[in-house]
Amino acid sequence: MIFNRLELVNFRQFYGHQEVEFSASDRNVTVFHGANGSGKTTLLNAFTWLFYEKVSFTQDDKLASERALAEAEPKDIIEVRVTLDFEDDDVRYQASRSYDVMKHHDSDLTGFVKGRNLVVWYTDETGNRQKKANPRETLANIIPERLQDVFFFDGETIDQLTQINNEEQVQEAIESVMGITTLERAIRHLESAAKRFRKEAADKGSSELQELTLELQGLEDKVAEDSEKLTVVTESLDDIDQELTKIDDELRVLGAATELQERRDTITEALEQAKEKQAENLRDISEQISEYGHIPFAMDAIAKLGEFLDDKHAAGELESAVDSNVIESLLEDGRCICDRPVEEGSPAADQLSNLLARNQQTVVGTKGRILGTYLGDISENEQSFFGNLSELISNRKSLREEVQKHQAELSDIEFALKKIDDDHIVELETRRESLNKEQNTKLTRKGQLQESISTIEPKIERLENTIKNEQRKSTRADLAAKRQETCEYLQAAFEKTYDRQKNEVREEINTWVNDTFQSIIAKEFYAEVDESFRLQILKDVGDISAEEVDKSTGERQVASLAFIGSLVRLAYEKFTENDPASNYRGGIYPIVMDSPFGSLDPEYQQKVSAMLPQMSEQILVMVTDSQWSDAVQGELGDHAGYQYNLDVTNASDAASGYESTAIVPEEMEVVA
């Protein structure tokens, strides 16, 4: 992906209509200079708001320019908009998110969001401009929301990547830059093939089988329908939440209610969190015991079975995962399970014949082979079961005490608020109560829908199994059922292979992560992503190598930058290799960073600056004037295609009386 142009309309301090172009190719860096408070972080937020409707401002409802609101009349609508032109995978896009913000009264400098809009246009292969039906999904597919901290990052918090519990984020980052893999496609293809065989088995089976299949289809439709309703209820709850937030904001500034409201906000939030955690905790305990509680009692027997299967496998006495009947049918039909022809005498036909001959001499059948491929997983499940259970039990007691405490506090506050003698507070409180009732109704509806879905899903699973058993009874349906089982087995095997490849990518990235890290950090530290996908900084201690060390924020920042840079580099190399045999295709990712030099010593600043242009095909960097030192400028200046000044007009100097920022292009040297 390459960003071409950004347009801001009344977005925070960027008053009116402003545009910037971004640099790519040889001079791949675009620099924004500005003093503290000039709007650097707002620019970063313009990207996250456009892509995910998320911002990191303290007052996240104040998106409209204060100056624009001050100049408007009550009931006027102000447009707040961010539009981005970009290219991804040779397709040109224009994404635009906007709010219609209404000014309430003369002194209203926040406004009320009356309308929200997100639209994504793209240019199709015939050159026509088309609108995407699911704009939110389109943007989330291009850069998934969980990766926003990786590709749109605040220099002050980027070190979080190296902290504990960020394994999931590191892992998802690796998966995302791998792109859509051949294996993922194969997994999806096998899933749909399994469904096709299920239908075929039903068509060829008994009337009871056909009825069961229809019942299954009905349940699947019901889950889809409930999921849609759930989305609508959830969106409506979001709207209620926003209005409640607005009322609470107002109560917070109405002298008599301020203190009580602020306390209520804090306690309500804490209570909701504690209750959610409590319910989740009980569900989790029950789920853990139900799913895995039996395994520890059988582990020794499982180990003995594993050893037996291993011996039989080594002796060639274990049947392959593909059933003999399926192999015979493939040879007879002259077609593979993926529908490709298998001609007599071809290598594929020979392979199938050999597999068939081997199957006929085995001692343990297909079931043994299939169960054997789950030995590692069940052992892992047992280990994680004990770890999870111990943590859940210790949380259980502390959550119960927390809930009781918050409930008592909240009851005291409600009593006190009702006794305040102020009509406006009473009016707001009344509206608040009504919204709370509506919220409760919708929350109940949401719960019902979630309950309905979670009740149906196990039924679907059981029905699928019943159908499989029914299929076995019918000779005509049996073959299709076995094909379906084979597809499911292959799907599981491919998923395991995918996990192995993810680890290979991790190892490949590790070399670059460490090289980059060591080229900047003079000390004898190493950086690596370990097997659990934790980004760590290590050092040799005596004879023991690679022990994790306490790190300064600067070192953690460098490790995080090295990781992001390595990811983007790998993705780019895979993308440009365009190797059809490769299992993943990679991609091009720009990086947008606010104050990347924040916690770095001057020496590190220079080295990081030298590294940045190599990190990605496109870098957008926001810096303060003090961070734009001679050393940084010396390294980055020659790579900067565009530079902009964030020119602030302070409230005291502005004719309007309100602060605003203009994005002013700097004149650049022309390079031949």
Partner: protein, 160 residues
């Protein structure tokens, strides 16, 4: 290997089978929801019975389970096959899920009675008693070695 031929006893599990459903199921599944289904508790009871070496052939068949609730779930199918193999030492049992169900049901009947004695009739919360039962003595080093070995066998058998 070949499928069961005419005259041989079927190895396919019965679509519906019957088990000893005692007070443990009423309390731990219906009332306290510590188990998400009777099937999960039935398998749990079977493993407890196996672990303590208590198998019986004499029990009430007052509970009913469909095989389809178990089929396809490897976290259930693998332990069931494993205890059946450990109990019989017969390789044929690995492909004979009908026999596996018969063996498991015998262990589950004893196991369910143990749960009444050790969980429900003991003092204290049932959840706490259940957790005490699950926390069986474990040699952590031995389990790590076992886990590594199983992962290696798994990798060998997964190769396409």
């Amino acid at each position: 290997m070949s499928d069961t031929t005419a005259g041989e006893e079927s190895t396919v599990p019965p679509e519906v089978f019957y088990y000893h459903k005692n007070e443990a199921f009423d309390v731990l599944v219906e009332e306290e929801r510590l188990f998400t289904s009777n099937t999960k508790l039935y398998v749990f009871a079977g493993m407890v019975g196996f672990h303590l070496g208590r198998h019986t052939t004499e029990y009430d068949e007052n509970g009913e389970i469909r095989w389809s609730y178990i089929a396809g779930n490897n976290d259930l199918e693998l332990p069931i096959a494993a205890i059946a193999y450990a109990y019989t030492q017969d390789p044929q049992v690995i492909d004979n899920q009908r026999e596996q169900v018969r063996i498991l049901t015998g262990f589950a009947a004893s196991g369910a009675n143990i749960l009444v004695d050790e969980v429900i009739k003991q003092r204290g919360a049932n959840l706490d008693n259940l957790l005490a039962l699950i926390n069986i003595d474990r040699d952590v080093d031995q389990r790590m070695k076992q886990s590594k070995m199983l992962a290696e066998i798994d990798a060998t058998l997964t190769q396409l």
